[in-house]
Amino acid sequence: MTIHLESTINGRSVGINVDPTLTLLEVLRENLFLIGTKEGCGVGECGTCVVLLDGTPVTSCLVLAGDADGRDVETVEGLAPDGELNEVQQAFVKSGAFQCGFCTPAMVLSATALLRRNSSPNEEEMKQALGGILCRCGAYPKILEAIIAATGEGA
């Protein structure tokens, strides 16, 4: 059995037939080859699979494919469409806000979503927003520094 999805993925309309028992994470990685989104635990505890669903960060490992129908999905691949890094990505580079990089797509997406909603969040709000994504390398101090820089406050 398949269902048909009509979604906007990274700004482009995509129509595909998929097995409805797949998760959005599986569809993104295996049907659409958007492999920047990672699985770290599969049960919503590590946050590495975060994508933006209608602009809001969600753990894509817990979303069934059908729930992406008619929605706007944004993955890390959509953040620099013309090869130009967005402000958050640039700040991550400058601050060195990653080590192994496995959580970085989720971190960058979540920080981007936060700044779109609130251009000058305080540190507590930043930590809140990223509190669901684990970074075992412990890049947290530099991630925070990068987000502050991306708000223009750190400049």
């Binding site: 920047g36 990672k38 635990c41 060195g96 990653f98 080590q99 930590k127 947290y140 101090p141």
Partner: protein, 767 residues
């Protein structure tokens, strides 16, 4: 003069990582690739009576079902004690028993659940304290028959490692001491939780007998040899291609997914097989930090000088030894700490238990013994009435001191790390907490660690006709920034722009031998190899320039891709020079090699040279915490983390290692807590095994101390491991400072804090 070394350049892997373009092991996909799944033991110890794979074999998509009987080989780095799949018995909950390959992962997982295994449960040993009892069930009754290296075991027991060290007369010194402090400390098993799970793709060529594996590892050649040893083939028959590594911390060095993938690949007619563990499998059935119980006794005189220490350390390797033997030996030496103590006695024993495998973990034993050493240092200082900082300064190693084996230590910045951490935390004063049920305190801890010695690194540097430089070496980027620091050193050694330097991915068929990216050894060892090869290339270029322009090459210099004459005037750019030889397709290659084996720095007492380390890592952390006396919850407010890095090749990556180490140390020390019952991990999910988030992060102030090391590339030592070790004892010592209680068994959980507080209240009702 350096252009890049010492400078805070952005990491060379930045764009790949912030755009999600980096390809990790989990991203590898090959044409015709099958997927594996593993049947695991539900029991800590059982005999396999029968295995029925018939239903699984008939399940949709299934291409291979393999049992241990089909593949009766053993692997292991120090002791060959581990089967690829359990052969006749299972030894821990999670031990792989049957592997299945199918056209999709879902089919493989479905078929896996159709395998029926009949077990006969055996008595299990799940408490390391009981493992050496006379009547303890043996995890490996045949241990004495296994192939192993030269270390000592106690045959026909569960003791797989025995190590003793003695110097001076400990008992006489204890008798003379003004104060003797004794205690027992324990460090628990923790998981690496590298966010990328264990994964491998393997392909077997039945005509050549060659295995090719796409892996995510920190030690390609060690892993290759471990696998080849188990498969019974020469190392050259196993080729590892290393993808980006989504975190290792010591986890990704032994065959885990690799072993299963290799076994399956033997049975799929040449089709590649991918084996990707789930997070739950990683938590219970990859490897954990080696738990340790450490009895430590220290004698001091009234002036605060340490005169004797004895240590009795028991380590728990779990069901198989993996890399634990070195932990048990090297780790137990390190329990002496960075202190001059003339009389020493160490007994270290490691036992098998029917529990999850343990192994190397950021610090290789150091995090465990530092916990004991630094907790006791605090106890002694307080009993003597000496300031804990002064006590450490008074006994701590200085440049030129001899290590316990007599090695003259070089590059010892311990004092400066203690002093800078002390100053940054504001030692001696404590801020008032904002509410009466909250109490604040400060604590300090130091650490010392050797690096793997001797070891060697090799590199080939290619300078192409396009003036671009390739640094070909087997030092995978595990997240700690080695690609960046190696490229920085290569750029300066050759004299080219950093942008023109690349560090290709490791492929054991193409990249020359290197030791592991472990033991914080890469910057130093590979750096030395790179400097040597880079300088050779630079020499050849200057010779060519000299010949081309009719000048003496000795007067020429190349920096950042430009060649200058004796007056410092630009003579020619490297690109233009090479363009003149375009027709000849000129490209230059140089090999570089460094081994610490022959270094004069390793000289020590005869027979004890092997204890020497080519460099010593030293670090001090001071922590300020706040305790909620009603719930026992600890909030770490600030950590000042000072590390002697020799020379910071890149201050940014050094800070990353220190900050990351503190976060990991904090997480290990106060959050991570496996609940193990009869050998079974009951909380093997990230929902219940808690790792620090950004919300748990304290203010971290990384401090770089640079006590230049003369044999090091640009003076640089290692930094990857030290920071994680000092954090838990610094927190524990701050806890004592805040509320007068001491937790000696990790982790420092709210429950333990609260229990200790109420015990203290009962003991001192007037308080």
């Amino acid at each position: 003069m350096t252009t890049y070394v010492g400078s805070r350049v952005p990491r060379v892997d930045s764009v790949d990582k912030v755009t999600g373009h980096a390809i990790y092991g989990v991203d590898v996909a090959l044409p015709g690739m099958l997927h594996g799944a593993v049947v695991r033991s539900p029991y800590p110890h059982a005999r396999i009576v029968a295995i029925d794979t018939s239903a699984a074999e008939k399940a949709p998509g299934v291409k291979a079902v393999v049992t241990g009987k089909d593949f009766p080989h053993l692997f292991g780095a120090a002791i060959k004690d581990q089967p690829f799949l359990a052969i006749d018995r299972v030894r821990y909950v999670g031990d792989p028993v049957v592997a299945v390959a199918a056209t999709s992962e879902r089919e493989a997982q479905y078929a896996r659940d159709l395998v029926r295994v009949e077990y006969e449960q055996l008595p299990a040993i799940t408490d390391m304290r009981l493992a050496l009892a006379d009547d303890a069930p043996l995890v490996h009754p045949d241990m004495h028959t296994y192939e192993r290296g030269g270390h000592e075991i106690i045959p026909h027991t569960n003791c797989n490692t025995l190590y003793r060290y003695q110097r001076g007369d400990v008992e006489a010194a204890f008798a003379e001491a003004d104060l003797v402090v004794e205690g027992e400390y324990s460090a628990h098993a923790v998981s690496h939780v590298a966010l990328e799970v264990h994964v491998a793709v393997a392909q077997y060529d039945q005509f050549s007998g060659d295995y090719t594996l796409w892996v995510t590892t920190d030690r390609p050649f060690f892993l290759r040899d471990d696998l080849a040893g188990g498969l019974g083939v020469d190392g050259s028959k196993v080729r590892l291609k290393v993808a980006q590594v989504g975190g290792s911390f010591g986890a990704k060095g032994v065959p885990i997914a690799e072993a299963i993938a290799a076994v399956l690949a033997r049975n799929t007619d040449g089709r590649p097989v991918k084996v990707e563990l789930t997070r739950e499998e990683c938590l219970i059935a990859s490897q954990l930090r080696v738990p340790a119980i450490m009895k430590l006794k220290t004698g001091v005189n009234k002036d605060g000088f340490m005169i004797a220490r004895s240590a009795d350390v028991l380590w728990d390797s779990g069901a198989y030894t993996a890399y634990t033997v070195g932990v048990a030996i090297r780790g137990s030496q390190t329990i002496v700490g960075p202190y001059r103590i003339p009389n020493l006695r160490i007994l270290s024993r490691q036992v098998y238990t029917n529990k999850a495998i343990t192994g190397s973990y950021r610090g290789y034993g150091t995090t465990q013994v530092t916990w004991a050493c630094e907790s006791q240092m605090d106890e002694i200082a307080r009993e003597l009435g000496i300031d804990p900082v002064e006590f450490r300064l008074q006994n701590g190693y200085e440049e030129g001191d001899s290590y316990l084996n007599g090695q003259i230590m070089h590059g010892v910045g311990l004092r400066e790390t203690i002093e800078t951490a002390r100053d940054e935390i504001g030692w001696g004063s404590v801020d008032r907490a904002p509410a009466p049920h909250l109490r604040r305190g400060k604590g300090i801890a130091t650490m010392i660690k050797p690096t793997m010695t001797p070891s060697s690194s090799n590199v080939v540097i290619n300078l192409g006709e396009d003036a671009r430089v390739q640094v070909v070496c087997a030092a995978p980027e595990i997240g700690s920034g080695q690609d960046t620091v190696l490229a920085q050193m290569a750029a300066d050694a050759v004299g080219v722009p950093l942008d023109d330097v690349s560090v290709p991915a490791t492929d054991t068929a193409l990249t020359p031998y290197n030791g592991p990216v472990a033991s914080s050894r890469t910057t130093y060892h590979m750096g030395n190899a790179i400097v040597s090869a880079g300088n050779e290339i630079k020499g050849k270029i200057l010779e060519l320039a000299g010949k081309t322009f009719g000048v003496d090459p000795d007067y020429l210099e190349m920096r950042d891709g430009e060649i200058f004459d004796g007056e410092g005037e630009l003579l020619v750019t490297l690109k233009n020079l090479l363009a003149r030889y375009h027709g000849e397709g000129l490209s230059l290659t140089a090999g570089g090699r460094y081994t610490s084996a022959q270094s004069q720095l390793l000289k020590a007492n005869p027979g004890e040279e092997w204890i020497s380390s080519i460099f010593w890592m030293l670090c001090t952390q001071a922590a300020e915490i706040e305790v909620d006396t009603e719930t026992g919850v600890i909030r770490v407010i600030k950590v000042a983390a000072s590390a002697d890095v020799g020379k910071a090749i890149n201050p940014l990556t050094c800070e990353q290692q220190i900050e990351g180490g503190v976060v990991m140390g904090l997480s290990n020390g106060i959050l991570e807590d496996f609940k193990i019952s009869n050998g079974r991990i009951e909380n093997g999910t990230l929902a219940d095994y808690k790792v620090a988030t950004i919300q748990d992060m304290p203010e971290i102030v990384p401090i770089l101390v640079e006590s230049v090391h003369n044999e090091a590339p640009f003076g640089a030592k290692g930094i990857g491991e030290p920071a994680a070790a000092a954090t838990p004892p610094a927190i524990a010592n701050a806890l004592f400072d805040a509320v007068g209680i001491r937790i000696t068994d990790l982790p420092i959980t709210p429950e333990k804090v609260l229990a200790a507080l109420s015990e203290k209240k009962e003991a001192e009702p007037g308080d």
